[in-house]
């Protein structure tokens, strides 16, 4: 029983935190070797374990940093590595290539239904809410027969991009007889998707920690009716409940990190995403409420955190979706 990180993990986390504190951008994050730390050794990286993902994304979440690491490296390079595309995976892990992964389709809600079809090396279909599509050098596209690789600017590829609530951008992607190369079965997705959900949950944990710290600070310093708001007992008890829930989320993230390559991984994915999603929404709503009016404003630093928490729940299946997955897995 050992909950400690390795020295390497701790060092990476520390230098990542320092880089972000100094305002380092995505390029600076890649320069630290963060991408390689998220890639398994057999694919040319030096990590990619549950604790690696936890350390990196919790740190990113704490700083509310917007990077392509989840989509391009954990998911994109993860799939490529599993498909034996080592060179491109490594390029993605250093930031040299940028991968977007197109899974969802319009009219579909977390159920993985896919209509995009491959026909003699060409894809036709529509993909929805594809994160990072406009900046991608490559797209990995899920079609009925498995995963395919599409290059940016390929024929018949149309990208309509828009902003997301968490500060990232996504796009509606249309493929019309677009040239593509098949990577393999959809099962290649399994481990990278589990790692991506861990990344998302660890990121949300970091965001929650920052949101709670911000709130604590506010409650200690702001006065109302002549007293610090945090001295009101009703507020104290609500903060205590909130902290207890965040502690639960922390343990849930640790659970998934510790079981990312265990036989019962899927059960932990469902449990962790369900619990973290629920707590993320609670933290979002309570931290706004405990701040009062200022918590509603865009100019205060809570705003992007709150929206990022909403996004964490909404992506890759929300709290209820994973609760139902957990039930199905338990019954099986």
């Amino acid at each position: 029983m050992d909950f400690r990180f390795t020295d390497e993990q701790t060092m990476l986390g520390d230098s990542l935190a320092r880089t972000l504190e100094r305002g380092g951008d995505a390029a600076a994050v890649f320069e630290l070797g963060t991408g390689a730390a998220l890639l398994p050794e057999e694919a040319g990286g030096f990590g990619g374990t549950g604790p690696d993902v936890l350390m990196v994304f919790r740190t990113l979440g704490c700083a509310a940093a917007v990077t392509p690491l989840l989509d391009s490296v954990v998911l994109g390079a993860g799939i490529l590595a599993a498909a034996g595309e080592g060179a491109l995976a490594e390029a993605a892990s250093t930031g040299g290539a940028r991968i977007a992964v197109a899974l969802d389709e319009p009219g579909q809600r977390y159920d993985g239904t896919v209509a995009t079809r491959a026909d003699r090396g060409h894809l036709t279909g529509e993909k929805a809410v594809v994160h990072g599509a406009e900046d991608a050098s490559h797209l990995i596209v899920l079609a009925t027969d498995g995963l395919h690789l599409v290059e940016a600017g390929a024929e018949g590829l149309a990208i309509r991009s828009y902003a997301l609530i968490d500060g990232a951008r996504a796009a509606e992607v249309t493929l019309k007889e677009t040239p593509a190369r098949r990577l393999g079965d959809a099962a290649l997705l399994d481990r990278p998707m589990a790692a991506a959900i861990l990344a998302l949950c660890a990121d949300a944990l970091g965001v929650m920690e920052t949101a709670v710290a911000l709130t604590t600070d506010y409650l200690k310093t702001r006065k109302q009716f002549g007293r610090a708001i945090g001295s009101f007992q009703a507020i104290q008890h609500r903060m205590a409940d909130l902290l207890t829930e965040v502690e639960q989320a922390r343990s849930a993230v640790w659970n998934l990190a510790g079981h990312l390559d265990a036989p019962d991984r899927d059960r932990h994915v469902a449990a962790t995403k369900s619990l973290v999603g629920r707590v993320a929404l609670q933290v979002a709503e309570e931290t706004i409420q405990l701040h009062g009016g200022i918590g509603m404003t865009e100019e205060y630093e809570l705003a992007p955190l709150v929206r990022r928490l909403l996004a964490a729940d909404a992506r890759f299946g929300d709290s209820d979706h994973h609760l139902e997955r957990f039930i199905v897995l338990g019954a099986a």
């Binding site: 969802d104 319009p106 009219g107 579909q108 809600r109 977390y110 159920d111 929805a128 809410v129 309509r160 828009y162 902003a163 997301l164 609530i165 968490d166 996504a170 509606e172 702001r222 006065k223 109302q224 009716f225 708001i229 009703a234 507020i235 929404l281 709503e285 706004i288 409420q289 009062g292 009016g293 918590g295 509603m296 404003t297 865009e298 100019e299 705003a303 709150v306 929206r307 909403l310 996004a311 729940d313 909404a314 992506r315 929300d318 209820d320 979706h321 609760l323 139902e324």
Partner: protein
């Protein structure tokens, strides 16, 4: 006991429905339904349509040009308006300042200001809150110093809803030193076009500039714009806070929000099944619907009491609390119903740089925005924490 409306009330409801059918422009109701921002002109347009029928000031007695409605009639009007997605009547002039001037204003003030509220010449906003004060309204720092036949006002107000459109603001100002914070406060009417006033919009979580900061730098206000007596302003402020709370529960908004939620949950499909047929989601929707059925009745019970002359305090705080919880729960479920589409940033999607429609289901464009914007419901108008305090005090008296 008879839980149905009286024949007169039913007739009135039919009249309101017909009026909304005839006179509410689809141009406006479409925007309201989609939670899009109305322009100033659009809000004024609706006020004018109502005033033409003498229905703008439902809460004013006829002698002041109001509709003279009973509490039940006002409730019917508000509920039907919400269900029809009519723009709401702006509360600052009609619901707030109007009754205050009618009770505490001078005859001159009544004659001067009330007609201009009705005919749309004046757009009022509210100058209560100050930075850092939160729910502690009595900690007014904005000062008004008497100088001949003027007050000179200095300070800052905040959370002034739609203040960017206003030409008048009613303010709590400090006119005297205070033994207790509630003392030494006065109630001033201030022309927003006066030199020294600056308005700065505050962008909210959902990307909309709905509220503002208002700065006063040596603003001269004629003494005849003082309402009532100097240093008695807290009494008038409290009147506003406790009065005119008929629509505090927002039953109409909740009802139309619930209908929209169900519509979306019927359209969203996962695993070949409409989301509304997912037992867990259906249970969450049913829970809130059952709560709404009960709250509607609490609301009607209170209206019946109000019609009988009672002014329930704790009950109205309970309505604020539960009404807020229900509306926020509906907003939350609506956002959740949209799954990955709820990730789209509402502001850009709605007022975005290009003309293409936003991605995903039509409702995705507003669901997250409505959710974010309505987090305010439990903060403003006396936060839910303040309401809990009122309820406990009225019960425990401690």
């Amino acid at each position: 006991m008879d839980m149905s409306f009286s024949p007169d009330d039913r007739a009135f409801r039919d009249e309101v429905r017909q009026f909304l059918k005839d006179r509410l422009p689809a141009r406006l109701s479409d925007k309201v339904r989609q939670h899009r921002e109305l322009t100033k002109a659009e809000m004024e347009e609706w006020h004018a349509i109502l005033q033409e029928r003498n229905w703008l000031a439902g809460n004013w007695p006829r002698e002041f040009g109001g509709s003279g409605w009973t509490p039940i009639q006002r409730h019917i009007f508000e509920e039907e308006s919400a269900l029809a997605h009519a723009p709401r009547v702006l509360p600052f002039g009609v619901a707030m300042l109007g009754p205050l001037l009618q009770k505490f204003g001078s005859r001159e003030q009544q004659d001067r200001f009330l007609p201009r509220i009705l005919d749309g010449q004046d757009w009022w906003c509210q100058g209560y809150s100050e930075p850092g004060a939160g729910s502690d309204l009595a900690s007014v720092k904005t000062s008004a110093v008497r100088d001949g036949d003027h007050y000179v006002v200095n300070g800052q107000k905040t959370w002034t809803t739609l203040g960017q459109h206003a030409n008048w603001i009613f303010c709590l100002v400090r006119t005297g030193p205070a033994a207790k914070p509630q003392e030494g406060i006065s109630f001033l009417l201030i022309d927003m076009t006066s030199p020294g006033i600056t308005v700065r919009p505050i962008v909210l979580l959902d990307g909309t500039p709905e509220v503002n900061e208002v700065f006063f730098d040596n603003v001269k206000v004629p003494v005849e714009n003082l309402v009532g007596e100097e240093n008695k302003g807290w009494t008038y402020a409290k009147f506003l806070l406790t009065h005119e709370r008929t629509n505090i529960a927002g039953v109409g908004f909740a009802t139309s929000g619930l209908a929209a939620l169900k519509r979306i949950a019927r359209a969203q499909v996962a695993y070949g099944k409409a989301l509304i047929d997912n037992p867990l989601f259906a249970a969450r929707v049913a829970d809130v619907e059952i709560e709404l059925m009960a709250m509607s009745t609490t609301n009607l019970r209170m209206l019946a009491q109000a019609a009988a002359g009672h002014a329930p305090m704790a009950e109205s705080s309970m309505l604020k609390l539960k009404g807020t919880q229900i509306r926020q729960a509906i907003n939350d479920l609506t956002r959740r119903a949209l799954g990955p589409w709820a990730l789209v940033f509402p502001s850009e999607a709605l007022e975005g740089a290009n003309d293409t429609p936003p991605p995903g289901p039509a409702e995705a464009a507003w669901a997250t925005r409505a959710y974010l914007n309505n987090r305010k419901l439990s903060i403003y108008g006396g936060s839910n924490e303040i309401q809990r305090g009122i309820i406990a005090k009225s019960l425990l008296g401690l």
